[in-house]
Symmetry: C2
Subunit: 186 residues, 2 copies
């Protein structure tokens, strides 16, 4: 079974309170839709800061969520001077502390994670693809830097676009690009 | 069979002519020994430039070789605006064009590669480890971003330290650090 690749660059999700602290009353205006239904890249960016350095122009995604989360690669983590765990989205209880700076204010909290490899699914996709009851799969990597990647979690939402999300470290190490088609190993 | 990891950051090897062009009569002074016998990181650095940007402070390794080669990660390649192939050391005939700038001059030539994953061996190691006649192996990756990496080439030299060399993209994507011990799959 094939799945297409979506490469996730570093980005930020905010809860409503943190959004207000960082951006005040400015609206979360859409720049472009993302592949997952009802999600978008906004016009807004923040600066993120660790113990060593900052990275500017980190995109805020929308809509806001119930938790604030900064998704970065391990390469970014070394640049910033933070040590985030590999976690599924929303698992921020032991995320690393990071500072987020917006035009209206800044905050420092446990929000930095390296996103676990994951495939977006919904009930219909699980039934169609024979993935009911499965929590994670492996994926075969072709090419000169071939291999197999494990711990690819199936991430459920009400309505999903069937896609494998990898961060820029995985994509660059494995020579993958957006829309590459890979084989799932159940 | 276990092998320890050595993480290779971006670096440059120079031939004698290119060295002279970049550094004139300055000596290739050693900063520190590397793990492979008779190799060292020098005190010298260059700037490398592609179509988009430059990266400064790229370490020159010694001793000089018969060919000039710039080993970078795919992440570096995107930063610079070059498109190097994945190649074993010395296979620079179809390397991408890159500019190297030293204190005494600069040159632009086919020198940029992404180093293929490789394990340093010599005749004695091959015999001891049962690796005689084998050109490449796979390696098992443990942990939260586990899997298997293929196309790990055995690289022969007269005298080697048995070590798996990965670039920073592989190391960061796979959460590996210098001296981690990994299992070889023959």
């Amino acid at each position: 079974m094939k799945v297409s690749v979506g490469v996730s660059n570093r980005h930020v999700h905010l809860n409503n309170d943190d959004y207000k602290l960082l951006f005040g009353d400015a609206p979360l205006t859409k720049r472009n839709d993302l592949t997952q239904p009802n999600t978008f890249a906004s016009e807004l960016t923040v600066t993120i800061t660790g113990s060593k350095r900052s990275i500017e122009n980190v995109r805020v995604l929308g809509p806001n969520r119930s938790y604030t989360q900064v998704e970065i690669s391990r390469t970014d983590a070394y640049t910033l001077g933070v040590n985030p765990p590999v976690r599924n989205s929303g698992e921020v209880s032991d995320a690393d502390v990071i500072t987020i700076i917006g035009p209206n204010g800044e905050l420092t909290k446990k929000a930095a994670i390296i996103a676990a490899r994951h495939i977006h699914v919904d009930k219909k996709i699980r039934e169609e693809k024979g993935l009911v009851g499965i929590s994670k799969v492996s994926v075969r990597i072709p090419g000169e830097k071939s291999g197999i990647i494990d711990n690819v979690y199936l991430k459920d939402s009400d309505e999903a676009y069937f896609e494998l999300h990898l961060d820029t470290d995985d994509a660059n190490a494995l020579l993958l690009k957006h829309d590459d088609e890979l084989e799932i190993i159940k």
